[in-house]
Amino acid sequence: MRKRTSVIIVMIILALFFIFPFYWLVIGTTKNVSQLFQKSLLPGVPNHFLENVTGVFTYENGVFFNWLANSFLYAILGAFVAIFIACMAGFAFRRFDFYGKKILFILILGFSMVPVYATTLPLFMLFRDLNLINTRLAVLLPSFVNVFSVYMMVAYWNQVPDEIFNAAQIDGATDLRLFFQVGLPNVIPGFITQFLLSFVGIWNNFFLPLVVLNSRVKMPVILGITTITDPQGFPVYNLTLTSSFFAILPLLFLFVVLQKYFKPQLYTLH
């Protein structure tokens, strides 16, 4: 019994370590720059939270709202297209014994780990030739492919039992109906998990927009907040902190509300 208590004490100390930056961020949003430099661990007195929020919202004529809207566009559209396409691919692997199946699967697996630092530079050259640099399409198009989620979708589809398809096929269902009405409902939980992970991945993606965008109104929020400066080009710590707080709020909300769908994934599936 005493041993369990010591485990709890260690766990509480660790919890404080994991919570601390969140706490520091939240109290940071209540301070102006001179209060931040006082290094206190208490909220700012007087409280500057509203002033900071107004500062973020009115910064450069409200460009922060453009950033938020862009992030939602990139993450929702990108994740939906990527996962729907992956879902169709998974269905093809599940239902059909086609020529090149094994080779294609190995190809998908082999390219699922390609680092963005190898593909983004050639993509930049490609988009430059197509006049797509500094367009929203340059962020969206690469987001439409999520190779890893294809692998995961194949795994989800493989868990759908044969009987479900056979019964519908005897009733004369077409392949499209088998996909949409018979199969899809069975892989919806996997679809949601992959959608959420893909959403978060695109929301957090910094490198691709950094390379392909240069006008601020098209930036996602994660890139936008790193460009906040005063007119002389110096950092404005209180606004950067407050905008960081708003940039992670949607993620925290999603995680808290849809916790059961956030399943950690490794290549090992049981």
């Binding site: 198009l141 957090n204 390379v211 940039a247």
Partner: protein, 311 residues
Amino acid sequence: MTDEMKNIKMQEIMGKKKVSKRTVATIKAYLFLAPFLLLFSTMVIYPIALGVKLSLYGQRGARMWYIGFQNFATIFQDSRFWESFRIPLFLLLVQVPLMIFIATLIAFSYERLQKKGGAFFRFVYYLPYTIPGIVTGIIWSYIFSDGMSPFRTVIDLLGYSGTKILTRQHLPSILLVIILWAFTGYTAFIIYSSLISIPKEFSEQAQLDGATFWQIAFKIKVPLLKGVFIPLFIFNAIGAIQVFNEPWMLSKLVILPSNYTPAMYIYNSAFAQGRFTYAAAMGLILAFLTFLISLYVLRSAAKQMLAGDSQ
């Protein structure tokens, strides 16, 4: 016609039917695969191929000319490229083993606590993983900056007011803290997920023999978790050689060399110095290293899938 001939004839017809059935299946399958294949080939395969082509060219400004493997020959002698692996190597040798060790202890603590707040701790420890690397970098770089750090007050009180916190010398340790903060809870959750799938029979006998909880944990359960430790090591090794966001944000408060990590060197070579083809070649080396590191997981994943396929 004899029966034998009839049989052969039948087999021929059946065989043909089978082939045509497979052709139909192939057409249908590729219709479903078409959107993915189109985007996969233009957004992944083509860039890699273009990267290979670029890596074989010399470049000055907009002018490019074929030079064969000379970029690679230059890279192998470019000490700045190899120096950029210092941070990944440090993370690989210190952060990754340390994190997996701590995460294992945490996973066992979750198991021990189960009903007494285990779920609460799992939730809190996992939270940092949901935060983007850039925001993590912003918050922690401010927390460690000498102007804003709450630790500054403590350090001053201890009589080290002359020692700065956020310096290049301290950066590896600072990165260590940041990355441990971001990924330990997630790692612990993964280990815990496979820990609870270990059947009870494995520990029951040892329990009867009077073994303690931690004895059972380390002597019986840890060896059974091999299947999760290996992929964890591999994925974290990949994360280590590709580290970019956190040092990028820290470089706004500390002056860092352009080759602080391989990814930063690739980015800076391309966009600060305009050496695109050289950066493309380095990108390919990074991709190749990643592929080599992940080969073990990829192979076992392929085996698992293709085996499941024939059932």
